[in-house]
């Protein structure tokens, strides 16, 4: 079992403190839901863990082995908010680079892959791209997966399908997921954390979401 630890993250933009007292743990076998208001630094925190955003200070480790960037040697995979699959390359060519060999049989038998494997990414619709992009990240060889708004612009049926796959894949991986569709996050997560005033707060009851000003109390 692996444990990802993020601690003492300090992030500023133009002198404004965004993140200042962050502590987050995620073990393989669990889904951690990350909630917070717009601009509170959820996506920034995921990008800091992945290694594409450099904060003033951070501590990042897997099983106490310090990492500089999460993506090095495929320890952490990250699904960004917008399409990340390059144009002009066939879906099969991209999938072979991203999907782990142990998941290849399962992935290559998915309907969406069978239907589109010979197409180039520009021949796919936005929804198909999002679905394929997300599946390639979930079936990646990384031990930890960060999902940034996976349920945005997704139909309820697709959201349910994604939640099923997240739960299945999380048996072997640690997953940190954030989205504004908090009901989907609550459904899929084993544990919830809210970012409020730049700090991470564990959520132990639904009332905590009101206490930390994430929900208004009328929901």
């Amino acid at each position: 079992m692996f444990k990802l630890t993020v601690d003492s993250v300090d992030l500023e933009f133009n002198g404004r403190k965004i993140l200042q007292d962050i502590y987050l743990e995620c073990s393989t076998g669990e889904v951690v839901g990350l909630l917070g208001r717009n601009g509170c630094g959820k996506s920034s925190l995921l990008r800091i863990i992945f290694g594409t955003l450099t904060p003033v200070h951070k501590y990042l480790s897997i099983n106490k082995q310090v990492l500089d960037k999460g993506y090095y040697k495929n320890r952490v995979a990250y699904l960004p908010q917008h399409n990340y699959l390059p144009k002009g390359i066939r879906v099969s060519g991209l999938a072979k680079m991203l999907v782990a060999s142990e998941y290849w049989h399962e992935f290559s038998n998915l309907d969406i892959y069978l239907d589109h494997q010979h197409k180039k990414t520009e021949q796919l619709s936005g929804g198909e791209l999002q679905q394929l992009g997300m599946l390639m990240i979930l079936y990646n060889r990384a031990d930890f997966v960060l999902l940034d708004e996976p349920f945005t612009h997704v139909t309820p049926i697709q959201a349910d399908y994604f939640k099923g796959i997240i739960k299945t894949v999380s048996k072997h991986k640690g997953i940190i997921v954030t989205d504004h569709q908090y009901r989907n996050i609550i459904d899929v997560s084993d544990r919830l954390i809210v970012i409020a005033n730049g700090c991470t707060k564990p959520v132990t009851s639904p009332d905590d979401l009101v206490t930390y000003n994430y929900l208004s109390g009328n929901n």
């Binding site: 993506y71 390059p86 991203l98």
Partner: protein, 119 residues
């Protein structure tokens, strides 16, 4: 016994490195494909600029034009399609290695073209 273990370690390392390099070369080719038309266009522009500057086109000036064309192509691609870098990073490689791999491919392609032209 120790020697046998050393040999096993050596072959294991070799297999790991061959796999690493094979994946890196595929990713470099994919990145090179994305840059290709930018690269060709800016290399031609750089050669034209050199000629207007009355600099004779030889191996050195061509290499400078080639490098400038490649760097401008990478810069423009970065400006337009930065989000695609997440794909390459999600494979576990840093962009620095992808850039180097694509530059190596570029040098190889232009060397082959130069050799064909010279013959």
């Amino acid at each position: 016994m120790v020697l046998a273990n050393n040999n096993q370690c050596f072959y294991l390392l070799l297999i790991v490195n061959v796999k690493y390099l094979k994946r890196l070369s595929i990713l470099s080719l994919q990145f090179y494909k994305l840059l290709f038309w930018y690269n060709v266009a800016f290399t031609i522009v750089a050669l034209i600029v050199l000629q207007f500057g009355a600099i004779p086109i030889n191996a050195v000036s061509f290499a400078i034009a080639k490098l400038a064309g490649y760097l401008i192509a990478v810069g423009l691609h970065y400006y337009n399609s930065k989000n695609h870098y997440f794909y390459f990073r999600n494979t576990g490689y840093s962009m620095r290695w992808i850039f180097i791999g694509a530059l190596f491919t570029d040098i190889l392609v232009y060397s082959i073209i130069a050799l064909i032209c010279l013959n």
